[in-house]
Amino acid sequence: MAAKPLLELRGIDKSFGPVRVLHDVSLSVYPGEVTALVGDNGAGKSTLVKCISGIYPIDAGTVTFEGREVAVHSPRDAAELGIEVVYQDLALCDNLDIVQNMFLGREIRRGIALDEPAMERLAGETLASLSVRSVNSLRQLVSSLSGGERQTVAIAKAVLWNSRIVILDEPTAALGVAQTTHVLELVRRLADNGLSVVLISHNMNDVFAVADRIAALYLGRTAAQVRASDVTHAQVVELITIGRSGNLGLPPEAPNDFADLLPGAPR
């Protein structure tokens, strides 16, 4: 337990109007490690990520980066800290090419004009550093890429900026076997290069294949954050589905806490 967390969330609350989506959530992200964020559909994983990246403002709680409390109000703030997110829907512009997408919002300029050659070169180098050698042309429209290639572009876009933390929201959800393996290798390589990686996934095999730590969300609460080597598949599944497993997870004696969240409960 020598390493200090790079990013630490404490007591995060987030509501959308009357709907409380995150409740006292905490999460620690360590450098050089893959932290898997798991939880059932609607547990609040994507929402948590959007809070970290400044897309949603948080209602309460603290965000600490390198031991310093920070306020992230916009995607730009997050980017300045070195936090990059690869969203579930990838957020690529289909009508732009690979280079244009990788530099979107942060184009390199020379005077007032775009410096296309510099961007294309950097994009090429970044893709190559991720051992990507399969694109036909860096000037290919993103719409013509396969799912795995799009995922790779989105990841390359995130690591282009000397980022410290890369958050991936279900990067393998829509991929075939070979492309999943490739993306997971990529994820592992990022962490081995010293980055912090947060990986959201529903697939336990993927999680155990690459994760060092596992954080489980249950109905918008942190059920547990544990080392991957300390738990079994079954325990994680229990954390996801009922919020506890043995002595891990949320205490069973406070069911009323969930009354407003459980299906069928009176509002």
């Binding site: 990246s53 897309i55 916009s74 995607p75 730009r76 980017a79 997110v85 969203y87 829907d89 990838l90 957020a91 690529l92 512009c93 289909d94 009508n95 732009l96 244009q100 979107l104 919002g105 942060r106 184009e107 300029r109 007032i112 004009a113 775009l114 296309e116 050659p117 510099a118 294309e120 070169r121 090429g124 180098e125 970044t126 893709l127 190559a128 550093s129 990507v132 050698r133 694109v135 036909n136 042309s137 860096l138 000037r139 429209l141 719409s143 013509s144 890429l145």
Partner: protein, 420 residues
């Protein structure tokens, strides 16, 4: 597919080494894949020119008519250039026609009733355009009213504003001066050739600099043969046109000589270069395409989506004002019909015929210019062939439908080949 040499881009991603044959092959593949760009419009323009030229060789192919085409196309083409920005975001501006009329009226009234100097009146009219765009853009981006509704309301309102501005007399003539010559007179022959030379040289330098920059970074370049071919093509086009336009075209040359490139040409050309640069080479332009392609992705990339949305309406209405000035300059006066009847629909038609997608995210400013040329040629050629204006409208409508049909089929094709 003979010996395919490869090429190492930075970082070691290998790519096929560019050859002329390969380039042509890629282009054909793109066309087949449904990425047509301005090709249908250019083919249409050539076809229409041949048809009208063979039907009325005496008049249609005369230097006078050629010069006339530019003046005829100027107003609608400028408005269409502005519409490109709005269409790139998948929005529409239905008020552009009457906004042009209103800005033209502002110009004429400042010149006559207020006796302002010409440059002041010109700037005021353009500023009026920009202000209109600011209001429209604000209502769309910040209040969230669909642009179709906002600009439909503005269309009705501006029609009334124009009537009220013109007051009792209902027709305001503008005094002689440079504004009146903008879309009426021509450059002296010497200046015409200087302009042609500068345009050709400028294009060549821009192309070669781009080629050199890419080579220097060790990137895949187009084969130099293609670059030179493009430069030669443009040079041939510009120089031929200049040669025709510098012919004497007065009916009675002894009284007044009439030759030279119409002033409207450098005006259109200047805006074409400006907006092409803005859209293609600045981050602002990149963001316009991005917001048109995926607003949510743009927002997450830190692009101020609302501001981009407002700005395209400002650019559009600014160009609308410029178009209005060209309309007024050509007519020499403003009346309640200025910018009315088919002005807006011709401008939208020009953009669509030129190859701009109404779904946003795709298109260039040059497409509006080519589309504007198609519209002007149809109007002009059918007039020369003595078709009634009713038939001309019908034919323009059919052409628009054909263009939209080609676009739709190309898009289906592109979706199938993942080229969207």
């Amino acid at each position: 597919m003979t010996s395919m040499t490869t090429f190492e881009t930075p970082g070691g991603v290998t790519a096929a080494k560019p050859t002329v044959a390969g380039h042509v092959r890629d282009y054909l593949a793109r066309i087949r894949g449904g990425d047509l760009g301005a090709l249908p419009a250019v083919l249409g323009l050539v076809l229409l020119t041949l048809i009208f030229g063979s039907a009325e060789p005496e008049t249609f192919f005369s230097a006078g008519n050629f010069a006339n085409l530019f003046n005829q196309a100027a107003g609608v083409t400028m408005i269409a250039m502005g519409l490109v920005f709005v269409l790139l975001l998948g929005e529409i501006d239905l008020s552009a026609g009457y906004a042009a009329g209103v800005c033209g009226a502002v110009l004429a009234i400042l010149l006559t009733d207020f006796g302002y100097p010409q440059p002041v009146a010109l700037v005021a009219a353009l500023a009026a355009g920009a202000a209109i765009g600011l209001v429209l853009g604000f209502l769309v981006a910040k209040i969230g009213i669909p642009s179709f509704v906002v600009t439909l309301a503005a269309f009705l309102a501006f029609q009334g504003v124009l009537l009220n501005l013109l007051g009792e007399s209902q027709i305001v003539s503008i005094p002689d001066g440079f504004i009146k010559s903008l879309n009426k007179d021509s450059l002296p022959v010497t200046w015409s050739w200087i302009l042609a030379g500068v345009a050709t040289a400028g294009y060549a330098v821009a192309q070669l600099l781009r080629f050199r920059a890419r080579t220097r970074y060790g990137l895949v370049t187009e084969p130099i043969g293609i670059v030179l071919f493009r430069i030669a093509g443009l040079a041939a086009l510009v120089l031929t046109a200049t040669a025709v336009l510098t012919q004497e075209r007065a009916i009675n040359p002894d009284v007044t000589s009439l030759k030279g490139v119409p002033i409207a040409v450098p005006v259109i050309g200047g805006f074409l270069v400006l907006w092409t640069f803005v859209l293609g080479r600045t981050s602002y332009g990149r963001h316009v395409y991005a917001v048109g392609g995926n607003p949510e992705a743009s927002r997450r990339a830190g692009i101020p989506v609302d501001r981009i949305r407002i700005s395209v309406f400002v650019v559009c209405s600014f160009m609308t004002a410029a178009g209005g000035i060209m309309l007024v300059s050509r007519a020499g006066s403003v009346d309640p019909g200025t910018g009315g009847s088919s002005t807006l629909l011709n401008a939208v038609g020009a953009a669509v015929i030129g190859g701009i997608s109404l779904f946003g995210g795709k298109g260039k400013v040059i497409h509006a210019v080519i589309g504007g040329a198609v519209i002007a040629v149809i109007d002009n050629g059918m007039y020369l062939m003595d078709f009634s204006s009713g038939t001309r409208y019908i034919f323009t409508g059919v052409i628009l439908l054909v263009a939209a049909g080609v676009d739709a089929l190309a898009r289906r094709r592109a979706a199938a080949t993942g080229n969207r």
